[in-house]
């Protein structure tokens, strides 16, 4: 049972590690503000597909790791990620039957909420940042979502078919 569980979690963990690497990868200053929130996208997908294993708890842990590697307030990304994953898990049945276009719109809303929470906490803590730092990731994240969705669905089926 436990081995079965590990083998089922491994693909997800690999995608998360790759996502974290993409998150801390250096980008030229001009496009840096448009780096998508890889981990938020990944967590939305996995929470939608496997809400029992990947729920608010794991989102919180991922968020804390994100906070440490960003050097932001400890708990900031954790809270924001936790919140959107909570919504995702709450409506995962609904989201699973959405056509891709509607799902993309939902992801757009979730990413916007995520960035808004970060913006809010930044505001309370007194961190000033340009507006593109908040809008950029929402736009690129939404545009990327369909491709990421197809890719991750592939990963998921390969993983669950035991290949």
């Amino acid at each position: 049972m436990s081995r079965d569980r590990t083998s089922r979690r491994l693909p997800v963990i690999i995608t998360l590690v790759v996502g974290l690497m993409l998150t801390i990868m250096p980008l030229p200053e001009s496009i840096r503000a448009f780096r998508p929130d890889w981990l938020a996208l990944l967590m939305i997908f996995w929470a939608m597909q496997l809400p029992r294993t990947w729920s608010v708890g794991s989102a919180w842990v991922v968020g804390i790791v994100l906070d440490v590697s960003y050097g932001t307030l400890l708990g900031q990304h954790a809270l924001a990620l936790c919140f959107i994953v909570f919504i995702t898990v709450r409506f995962h049945l609904l989201m699973r039957v959405f056509p891709l276009s509607q799902l993309s719109a939902t992801v757009f809303a979730l990413l916007a909420i995520y960035q808004f929470l970060l913006f809010w906490i930044n505001g309370v803590a007194g961190v000033v940042a340009p507006a593109t730092a908040y809008w950029g990731p929402v736009i690129t994240g939404t545009l990327l979502w369909p491709f990421l969705f197809m890719f991750l669905s592939g990963v998921r089926y390969r993983a669950s078919s035991g290949g």
Binding site: L20, A33, V65, Y70, Q76, A125, P137
Partner: protein
């Protein structure tokens, strides 16, 4: 309930989701409060930071490999050219340094005459910047030495051309630094030409600093070099910071609109120097 079998695609409700969520929200808020108010959480940060370290290395590795490949495939011709250039540069620098030694001795003598108490003597160490971008809201960078090598919070970082920034968070093997261009960063400077003191504030643009607190009649003009004044305590005095590139005086406004370009190549540096400044007594120095 079927849910106990842990089948992920089971459409049953997720148990205690709301409760867990509320608990985590509470913990997050508590953490943020503690983190913002005090520095109780440095230990936790360091622990998780050490766990992320291999990942940082992995991200950094391809870039480093590329640089190494570039170095090892440079043609002999290019290397000779570079060598020639470096020789010439060294000659120039040495000549300038000779004068500096004389000036330093003179300065020490004069200060001794005036009975000035102490002066800052700096010790530096080179650190490499890891190819890792951190916080999207701030201009910062990650360097490859940490508290193990004696790095401390608030330490000044310079490159060959000027001030780069200061350390804000020290991990065991890495440290995070904020650049002077960060919108949250302010740095006490003085105009090298006449000693006019002011504050250079980051704008969030990598190539621009603002000097918002200069009155309209201040003696400042484009081309003036700004150096650290050492008044804030974080930076040792006398390091070049930026060159004033425009001064706009608007008659109705109390303050002039002054912008400056950082001397250091903030977005291109690969190696930086960390400064350990410690006060030494001038008398001893003069005796040497």
């Amino acid at each position: 309930m079927v849910a106990s079998r842990g089948n992920d695609s089971n459409p049953a409700r997720i148990p205690a989701l709301g409760l867990r969520f509320l608990a985590l929200v509470f913990v997050s808020i508590l953490l943020m409060y503690l983190d913002h108010r005090e520095n109780h959480l440095d230990g936790i940060r360091r622990g998780i930071g050490a766990a992320v370290y291999p990942l940082r290395l992995a991200v950094d590795a391809p870039v480093r490999l590329w640089g190494w490949l570039g170095d090892s495939t440079t043609s002999r011709n290019e290397l000779e050219l570079e060598l020639g250039r470096l020789h010439a540069e060294r000659l120039l620098t040495n000549a300038r340094l000779q004068r500096l030694t004389a000036l330093e001795a003179e300065n020490a003598r004069l200060r001794a005459l005036l009975d000035a108490r102490s002066r800052v003597r700096d010790e530096v160490r080179v650190a490499e910047i890891m190819a890792v971008n951190a916080n999207p809201y701030e201009h910062n960078l990650v360097i490859d030495i940490g508290s193990r090598d004696g790095v401390y919070d608030g330490q000044a970082i310079v490159d060959a051309d000027g001030v780069v920034g200061q350390v804000i968070e020290t991990g065991v093997m890495t440290a995070q630094a904020v650049l002077i261009s960060d919108a949250d960063h302010a740095l006490p400077v003085e105009v090298n030409r006449n000693g006019l003191r002011t504050i250079a504030v980051g704008t969030g643009e990598i190539d621009q600093l603002d000097l918002p607190f200069l009155p309209n009649n201040a003696d400042i003009r484009a081309g003036d070099l700004l150096v650290t004044s050492g008044l804030g305590g974080a930076f040792p005095a006398g390091y070049p910071v930026a060159v004033v590139n425009s001064v706009t005086r608007i008659p109705q406004e109390p303050f002039a609109d002054v912008t400056a370009t950082p001397s250091a190549a903030l977005d291109q540096v690969r190696e930086v120097m960390l400064i350990w400044s410690r006060p030494t007594v001038v008398r001893e120095e003069a005796d040497e």
